[in-house]
């Protein structure tokens, strides 16, 4: 065999071998098609088309003016797929430095070197996936997705943003506990407040759609008759007034800090409707700060102390056993009932006083004596119990959220001899702040007891689907005569009783202080632990709101109801007063009282209009500008001439007019300060050149 032949033989062998490979490829393709075809075809659909759930948008919770209390926003977690990062080792090496620097600059919690070390550690670790950072808001995610590595996506760099939804409370801690939360996982469903109670309404109905997966991990929805669109949850509109809530929560927090208290609450209720405008609850946490951790107003029953005396007196008045003028003997300030002493806070200045005064000075002895005298018989006990039952002190408060505490008030059959005098001034029993408030609200509301309510309405697509109208629990809880007398007593408490610190000349408040010694767990009454409270309503003459403030265990700076709780009451009442036109005197009355002020000099027509509103007619010429002065009691308008190219006297004008006037004349106005024009850098009467700068000082 010569060389040529050998080459030809070998080339042919090679060609044949490659032909066999070609045949093998086609055979393999044929095998995939025919024997495994169905399998792969079925796999294609199952891999690419699936039904995905479309969660419904959760409804919002609103304050009574439509501001958002709770809403849902998208939020991102940054994850790191380490397997993917390893596959693209080069990419990671190239950009890890700059990414570490960006992390460090943005989050400022670690140095770039530390971040780099951490990223390297993860990159080399045996883990497959870690979450690097949680809770990245939408804006930041938008920025971060352009960062090196992060922009390459999960398949390339391993970095991936996991989007989910977060429930957000725009007003932070304001009414946080009442708004509540709701979480659902495979194991359990937990929640409190409105989020829990109204969860089924807020959740909506999830839908689903067929979706096809395409490269890059994206899914595109497919049209299908089986697709179900999700129905968004309905919105819950609460009765909470966020401005009042803000003031209350802030005042409560300051008071708790000031007094080193354990916890406290403030509830503000609209008298006529029972709508709760404020429900603030703050408790001391382990971190020594106060947070909305429990709904004390609703869930904590305690001995109410003196605020409860009004209930006893109401019973006495209703049964005709006493009236405002009923005389009571305080003795030396201590009375012994069946071996147990009841003490007043102070030794009385006057031994015999009437019942009104006894309430004003909050005498324990007086109330205990009267109750003991009229109710400490078998029949009397039953009568008193029935009163207290009708006042609502035996049942948990019925309100839209869960967690209302059951009050402790034993049945009268189990009462001992000491029970009546002690019950009478707020011991041997436990009720929640809302119980007391609800009762006081009935007094303020002319004897009509309404159901407290946190909800105004439920809406869907801005259409009301359910309104929560006022529910009257008792049309006539107390007689008109009783109401009048009780109101006199409550007004007296502020006028010249234990709460004179709440007296103002613009807003009359009525209410009752309470400083109860409360049992502290196992230690009972051994340790002096107090609960300071104030419950009342305002304006006293025509009540619009009732409110209760309770501070538990103040440890410093006093513990009396008037000081500790009363101060908060006043602060919130002032805020409510300042915002409620109903409570304020009409302008006409103010005008009658006061002199009409002098208005800044300015546009003639505007000045005329303003004085007209005050009921004063003034005569101005047809000049554009006018100045008004007072001659004795007569208002004297004088023209105020403005000539072209001559600097006018602008002292005494408002800024708006000055700018209009001077800039029209071609001056450049430089302003310093605020208020009325005090001085001008170019004197009046001087000629002016267009484009000159003039400095106007305001004060």
């Amino acid at each position: 065999m010569n060389k040529k032949q050998e080459i030809v033989v070998r080339v042919r062998i090679g060609f044949l071998a490659i032909c066999l490979v070609g045949a093998a490829i086609l055979a393999r393709a044929f095998y995939i098609q025919s024997y495994q075809g169905n399998y792969y075809l079925s796999l294609a659909d199952s891999l690419t088309i699936s039904k995905i759930k479309l969660p419904a948008e959760r409804g919002n919770i609103y304050a009574n003016d439509g501001r958002l209390l709770a809403t849902t926003l998208p939020i991102f977690d940054l994850g790191f797929d380490i397997k993917a990062s390893l596959r693209n080792d080069k990419l990671f090496r190239a950009h890890v430095d700059s990414l570490a620097l960006l992390f460090s600059n943005k989050f400022k919690d670690k140095s770039a070197a530390e971040y780099k070390k951490e990223l390297w550690r993860l990159h080399r670790s045996k883990k497959s996936y870690v979450v690097l950072r949680k809770g990245i808001p939408y804006d930041l995610q938008n920025e971060m997705q352009h960062w090196p590595l992060l922009r390459n996506g999960q398949n390339k760099s391993g970095f991936v943003f996991d989007k989910h939804k977060k429930r957000l409370k725009p007003f932070g801690w304001l009414a946080e506990r009442t708004i509540g939360y709701y979480k659902e996982n495979s194991k359990e469903k937990v929640g409190v407040g409105l989020e829990k109670k109204f969860d089924t309404i807020l959740t909506g109905i999830p839908g689903n759609t067929l979706a096809q997966k395409i490269s890059g991990g994206l899914r595109i929805p497919l049209e299908s008759p089986e697709n179900v669109r999700p129905q968004p949850g309905k919105d819950v509109h609460t009765s909470i007034d966020i401005d009042f809530q803000d003031v209350a929560e802030d005042a409560l927090n300051r008071a708790l800090l000031h007094h080193g208290a354990e916890h406290g609450c403030v509830v503000l209720m609209e008298c006529k409707t029972g709508k709760i405008r404020v429900i603030a609850n703050l408790g001391l946490t382990k971190d020594s700060i106060y947070k909305e951790i429990k709904n004390y107003a609703l869930a904590e029953a305690e001995a109410p102390g003196s605020t409860f005396k009004i209930a006893t007196v109401a019973a006495l008045l209703e049964d005709g056993y006493a009236n405002n003028q009923t005389k009571v003997d305080l003795g030396n300030g201590t009375a012994i009932f069946y071996g147990l002493p009841v003490r007043d806070h102070d030794v009385p200045k006057t031994q015999i006083i009437d019942l009104k005064r006894a309430i004003e000075i909050s005498s324990n002895v007086a109330i205990a004596e009267l109750a003991d005298k009229f109710y400490n018989t078998a029949q009397g006990k039953q009568k008193l119990f029935q009163h207290l039952e009708s006042f609502g002190f035996t049942q948990p408060i019925d309100i839209e959220i869960e967690g209302a505490a059951k009050p402790i008030l034993r049945n009268y059959k189990k009462w001992q001899a000491t029970s009546v005098p002690f019950l009478a001034h707020g011991y041997e029993m436990q009720v929640t702040p809302l119980h007391i408030l609800s009762f006081y609200n009935a007094i303020a509301n002319n004897g009509i007891m309404v159901k407290p309510s946190l909800i105004e309405k439920i809406t869907a697509y801005n259409q009301t689907v359910d309104s929560f109208t006022t529910v009257v629990l008792n049309k006539k809880l107390l007689s008109a005569k009783t109401i009048v007398e009780l109101r006199q007593m409550l007004e007296g408490v502020v006028e010249n009783g234990t709460a004179t610190n709440l007296k103002t000349d613009y807003l009359r408040v009525a209410g009752k202080t309470g400083t109860a010694k409360i049992a502290q767990g196992k230690e009972g009454y051994k340790k002096a632990v107090y609960q300071a409270s104030f419950c009342g309503y305002f304006p006293a003459e025509n009540p619009l709101y009732s409110m209760i403030v309770v501070i538990n265990s103040p440890s410093q700076n006093g513990y009396y109801g008037n000081k500790v709780a009363g101060t908060i009451f006043k602060e919130v009442a002032d805020k409510v007063y300042s915002k409620s036109l109903q409570m304020q005197k009409p302008v006409q009355q103010l005008i009658a009282q006061k002199e009409v002020p002098i208005i800044k000099k300015g546009n003639s027509d505007e000045i005329k209009n303003i004085y007209a509103a005050w009921g004063k007619k003034i005569q101005t010429s047809d000049q554009e500008w006018t100045q008004v002065s007072r001659n004795q009691t007569v208002l004297q308008p004088t023209d105020f001439n403005v000539k072209e190219s001559v600097m006018p006297e602008v002292v005494g004008m408002g800024l708006r007019d000055v700018l209009y006037l001077l800039e029209n004349m071609g001056l450049k106005v430089n302003i310093v300060g605020q208020g009325m024009v005090k001085s001008q850098s170019i004197k009046a009467g001087e000629p002016i050149v267009k484009g000159t700068q003039v400095v106007i000082e305001l004060s």
Binding site: I18, I32, Y40, A44, L47
Partner: protein
């Protein structure tokens, strides 16, 4: 047609194969780049086809020029080109442009084109092998005089490519040995080489799986993953994603199909326009269409064999055989990957896959083969076959 072939000399059937492959290439690329075009080019679906057409045009120009050059010049050119390729490979290893996480590319200064140096090195090596084989024909069985001078350049080129592109290096060695076989290299020596090759490879694989993952540098981890995923073909979702998607494409294609641009799998395959274009072709044109591609390459190889039979000089025969074998082996490996006969390697389908570098060097290879065939035709009437 005959007018065209006045200018296009050499084997007309090879030219035909070239045109048909480019035709398939354009169809496949137009279809499979649609997703990419929407993502990166704002929906300009012609962008990638036009870009590839531009490369093909350049390639065609080069093919035309190279096929007019007398093939005997390529002996010297091969020597220069191969020597030049060595520093280029070293340069690429250290300063190459990173694409898909491997330093396989360098950018030509001024022009700004990137090309894969291994494409150049492979072409240069095969040409150089043809030269060496033709020069050593007289004492081809001598280990020192013939085998080593033929083998060592192959190993050198392969070793320089291996760190960044192991599969290409292995393919180059395999192709080189194949060409040596055709070039009458002693079977004993080839067996020896194959034996030691298998030994080294198994040693390397052992090392890859014994060493902890954290100690593996560069692309070694990728190699491990690829070998792992191929050696565990469990036939379920465990299979590597792209292989699975490729099989689905093949399954969807059926035996006979005509569904140009209708591929679903182009949306799921990571690089449907380059490494996996063959699965898109099967999906859109059925197994029959896929068969045409295989047959076109085999037919092209058959025409190369014919050149060997007719070639008057050993160098021409080895040049045509070597380049033809190299191109067809590359094609076969690409298609074998697609049907999952061999692990994923990342070689392109010559003249069909998208890519400028590959298109240009493939065109040059075709041009050189055509140059040999042109010379063979010119001389066939004049001289009798005579071996050097």
């Amino acid at each position: 047609m005959s007018n065209v072939f006045k200018y296009l000399q050499g084997d007309r059937l090879i030219w035909l194969v070239v045109f048909l492959l480019i035709g398939f290439s354009m169809l496949g690329i137009y279809s499979s780049t649609s997703t990419l075009a929407f993502r990166l080019q704002g929906g300009n679906t012609e962008y990638y086809v036009m870009k590839q057409f531009f490369y093909v045009a350049i390639g065609f120009g080069l093919m035309f020029v190279t096929h007019l050059v007398d093939y005997r010049y390529y002996s010297r050119i091969a020597q220069i080109l191969w020597i030049a390729s060595i520093p280029l490979l070293i340069y690429t290893m250290f300063f190459g442009t990173e694409l898909n996480d491997a330093n396989r590319w360098i950018t030509i200064p001024l022009v700004g084109l990137t090309f894969q140096t291994s494409d150049l090195a492979k072409l240069a090596l095969i040409m150089y092998l043809a030269r060496q084989l033709s020069l050593k024909q007289d004492n081809i069985s001598d280990f020192k005089e013939a085998f080593l001078p033929i083998l060592l350049p192959t190993l050198l080129t392969a070793i320089l490519i291996a760190p960044e592109n192991l599969s290409t290096a292995l393919i180059i060695v395999f192709t080189g040995v194949f060409v040596m076989f055709v070039g009458r290299v002693s079977l004993k020596h080839i067996a020896l080489l194959a034996g030691s090759g298998i030994l080294i490879l198994s040693l390397f694989l052992t090392l890859l799986f014994v060493m902890p993952e954290s100690a593996l540098k560069g692309r070694t981890l990728t190699w491990k993953h690829r070998v792992e995923s191929f050696s565990n073909p469990t036939g379920n979702a465990d299979e590597e994603y792209q292989v699975l998607q490729s099989k689905i494409a093949i399954a969807k294609g059926g035996i006979v199909n005509l569904n140009a641009g209708g591929s679903d799998q182009k949306n799921f395959l990571p690089h449907p326009y380059s490494d996996f274009i063959y699965s898109i072709i099967i999906e859109e044109y059925g197994l029959l269409g896929g068969g045409v591609i295989v047959l076109l390459y085999l037919f092209f190889l058959y025409r190369c064999v014919r050149i060997v039979l007719k070639a008057p000089k050993a160098f021409g025969a080895f040049l045509a055989a070597g380049l033809g074998i190299a191109l067809v082996i590359q094609a076969m490996i690409n298609m074998a990957v697609v049907v999952n006969l061999v692990p994923v390697t990342g070689v392109t389908l010559p003249l069909v896959s998208m890519g400028g570098s590959s298109a240009i060097f493939t065109s040059i290879a075709f041009g050189i083969i055509l140059s040999v065939s042109r010379n063979v035709e010119l001389q066939s009437g004049e001289e009798n076959l005579e071996m050097a």
